[in-house]
């Protein structure tokens, strides 16, 4: 038997995309987040649209931590309205959790189809550290 030395807290990493800072061209935009250590397990989280996403076209936004669309699948601007709350891909089930195989210090916001003209999106990711 043993006592674990693991810290009894669940950690949260925040990442905020801001059009006025990061731009909105159709591209992959890297945005810093609170570091998530290699080996951590992202279990769940939430996306909060703090400023509505706008575009002259049918823009989409996807979000990636380690692999394409592993945090948010490409989502149309119509779903990214002021104060919209969106699920992240990991929804608290083992099948959807992500084990970080390397340190994560940024998320990639991928703008698709058309450029953005405004928007601010906050991502909060919950994770455990088990080693």
């Amino acid at each position: 038997m043993q006592n674990t030395s693991l810290s009894p807290v669940k950690c949260v990493s925040y990442c905020e995309y801001d059009f006025s800072v990061d731009g909105g061209a159709v591209s992959a935009i890297t945005v810093e987040c609170n570091p998530i250590p290699a080996g951590a397990i992202i279990t769940s989280g939430v996306i909060h649209v703090k400023t509505a996403v706008t575009s002259a076209g049918s823009a989409t936004v996807a979000i990636q931590a380690l692999s394409s669309e592993d945090i948010l699948a490409a989502t149309g601007k119509a779903s990214l309205t002021l104060n919209a709350l969106l699920d992240v891909v990991p929804v608290g089930t083992a099948a959807t959790m992500i084990r970080a195989t390397s340190n994560i210090t940024t998320l990639t916001f991928t703008i698709g189809t058309a450029a953005l003209t405004a928007g601010r999106i906050c991502v909060a990711l919950d994770y455990f550290v088990t080693a």
Partner: protein
């Protein structure tokens, strides 16, 4: 009204390690974080840090307050390196566990055959006592 309870959701970690705890068939007590009487375990997950191996058809079950209330008997084939497993409590009222006494350990029950290796971390999320 506001209450005097803390506003954070609590986490308890328990880590079974074959090298420390052995792997004979039977009940193995693994000390970890303290969870107070009256707390409500709502969810969590299990991470297999080291694959579970056995010369036989070994199973592992995990108990907090009653038999298999954290993990039903699970065969070694599901306990591979970096496997992530759901707990019995999956964030629903029907699966939540209200503790009627304080715990600071979980019971890992090895069934059918002894283990020859394995390291398993159970992460439990709980709400502090509500009364």
């Amino acid at each position: 009204m506001l209450t005097s309870r803390g506003s954070a959701k609590r986490i308890a970690y328990f880590q079974y390690d074959f090298d420390v705890d052995g792997g004979d068939a039977g009940a193995i007590t693994v000390l970890g974080s303290n969870i107070p009487s009256g707390a409500i375990i709502t969810s969590g997950m299990i991470h297999v840090n080291t694959a579970v191996t056995s010369d036989g058809s070994a199973t592992v079950a995990i108990q907090a307050a009653s038999s298999e209330d954290i993990l039903a008997a699970t065969a070694k084939a599901s306990l591979t390196l970096n496997a992530l497993l759901d707990l019995v409590p999956v964030g629903t009222a029907a699966t939540a566990i209200r503790l009627t006494s304080q715990i600071n350990s979980l019971t890992f029950t090895v069934g059918t055959a002894a283990l020859t290796a394995g390291k398993i971390t159970a992460c439990l999320e709980y709400l502090e006592p509500t009364a």
